[in-house]
């Protein structure tokens, strides 16, 4: 089971950097856990903290002006490794939506499997989001999964986003893929026989 996704209205945290790869989201040295906990602390570790371990005041997550559970990132977010730890880190840090103009495939699969919604928007809409947040960090955005829309509540502009209907259903209901597959065991066994 994953957490059910409803409509979200929130401020957004901007990360206007392109090609943010999974090694930046969570460096390999933090992948040594055997349990799924504590990854949120190390999200964007090498940007977020200085070498002595103190928070880097220049990094957006350390700036109290920016809060909310929507992360807005530059194009091609999540490229690189298949490590699901990247999705866990984003989720554990309190985000429920990641907005970008382009996502890497594996990352998109991974976040969807964890109740985190990837919202792919046109380049122009993303630019407007960054500009809005820059001018007014408290600006609110609404993400409506049922309608598949994201709206900039300050400007009133909105856009539609795509999501696979099956994944949408899973998120709305809080189901995961394993629940689905476990119901198919007989069919899978029949398939094995026929091979």
């Amino acid at each position: 089971m994953i957490e059910k996704f409803n409509t979200i209205v929130s401020q957004a945290v901007p990360l206007p950097i392109e090609n943010v790869d999974t090694d930046q989201i969570i460096p390999a040295r933090f992948l040594k856990a055997v349990e799924r906990k504590g990854f949120g602390e190390n999200l964007f570790r090498d940007w977020r903290y200085r070498k002595d371990g103190s928070p880097n005041p220049d990094f957006v997550m350390n700036n109290p002006r920016y809060t909310g559970n929507i992360l807005v990132a530059g194009k091609n977010f999540g490229s690189g490794s298949s490590r699901e730890h990247a999705a866990w880190a984003v989720y554990d840090a309190g985000f429920r939506v990641v907005v970008s103009s382009f996502f890497a495939d594996i990352f998109k699969n991974n976040v969807l499997n964890n109740g985190l919604l990837p919202v792919q928007v046109p380049e122009g809409f993303l630019e407007e989001m960054f500009a809005t947040i820059d001018k007014n960090p408290t600006a609110q955005f609404e993400v409506d999964l049922e309608k598949q829309t994201i709206t900039n509540l300050l400007t009133g502009n909105g856009t539609h986003f795509e999501i696979n209907p099956y994944k949408k259903e899973c998120l709305l209901k809080g189901y995961d893929d394993i629940d689905y597959l476990l119901n198919l065991t007989a069919e899978i066994e029949a398939f094995e026989q026929s091979k």
């Binding site: 992948l31 349990e35 070498k51 530059g74 298949s82 999705a87 890497a104 476990l182």
Partner: protein, 464 residues
Amino acid sequence: MEPKTLFDKIWDAHVVNKIEGGPSVLYIDRHFIHEVTSPVAFSGLEKRGLKVFRPQNTVATPDHNVPTLEQHLPIREELSRNQVETLTKNCEKHGIPLYGLSHKWHGIVHIIGPELGITQPGMTIVCGDSHTSTHGAFGSIAFGIGTSEVEMVFASQCILQPKPKKMRINVEGNLAPNVTSKDIALYVISQISTSGGTGHFIEFAGSAIRSLSMEARMTLCNMSIECGARGGMIAPDETTYAYLKGREYAPNGKEWDRKVAEWKQLVTDEGAIFDTEYTFQASDIAPMITYGTNPGMGIAVDGTIPTGDSLAGSDKATFIKSLDYMGLKPGEKLEGKKIDYVFIGSCTNGRIEDFRQFAQYIRGKQKAPWVTAWIVPGSKQVEQQIREEGLIEILEAAGFALRQPGCSACLAMNDDKVPEGKYAVSTSNRNFEGRQGPGARTLLASPLVAAAAAVSGVITDPRD
């Protein structure tokens, strides 16, 4: 019948069920696991009270964070040791074959699968590591998955996957001497960018591809994901069969003949349609090296770093940030630049052919005194071959020491970390910020370019 691509033939033969408007339920023939991305999947399975559905279709090896020295001793670093021990316990509990550190078949997951003949044409293969695409070199659909998906495969031997689009990349003609499949990979990614393949599965074809050895094909398919693709594949042919024949888990006797006849059907039919197609000329490809922080930022080793003048907005900002990290300047030449580390290894270039090339270049030369070199075989079998073929003597005479198998500096989860600000010419697959250690500066290249740098201590064209 409608002409089909190689990809479609394999995919369609593995679809158990298709969800209306959703992904397909894809049956998985082989599941490779390692210590880093499996523990959470095992514990998820246990929380649901389940056993591994088909343990005999699963193969395990600890590779990502194992030390490359003194492997007979307990792993010193506690967290790494815990992950390796957890893998061992989970494999025992679920009856999964494990090739652990002391095993003669131990090695990097993507090296041992092919080496043992576990990887075969026509299969679907997954692993919680993005470079699973390596196995596509045998004409199989192989791709990396996340931990939730590892758990799905444990639970049902299936995975839910949307069908990707299809791309064909043709490379025609002959490669120049000293140009390798690593250079093809870096060249193609530099041309189509690190997101050029997103949403696609690539088939590599053309005369230059056909003439590659299995090792070289694996290097190319390994790197296919660095352009954003789900995976890469090459249709099986005589080279594939010759490589597989006689390997531990390869079919034998009558079964072999039956299988080969089946595998011969695994080609893209004339007239089959690809969503995207590119053709490159092998003669345009030089030995390559990267200068930036993604694998698409590559140039010919004797070339100059782009000026970035044609870029604008966030593309430009990203380019500048990347060069700043690397301590390099736009328009600069890399040749002659001093380097500090050389890494030969990883599932990209840790096979026997890579060490042969490296050894051939350095034979009779000496390692530059300021260069630290990590020479890491991809598996125990590769290590043994290095010894048996006498490559070890060549390495040692030139001042290089051989280490023990593992992922090592490819992702620097073990002790093999490049210090901050240091330059490493690396035969691995990623040059992301911090990939080889915090602040490390990675220049990706072939084993030959790495060999040339290791002996001269500066970036050098191996053709000179």
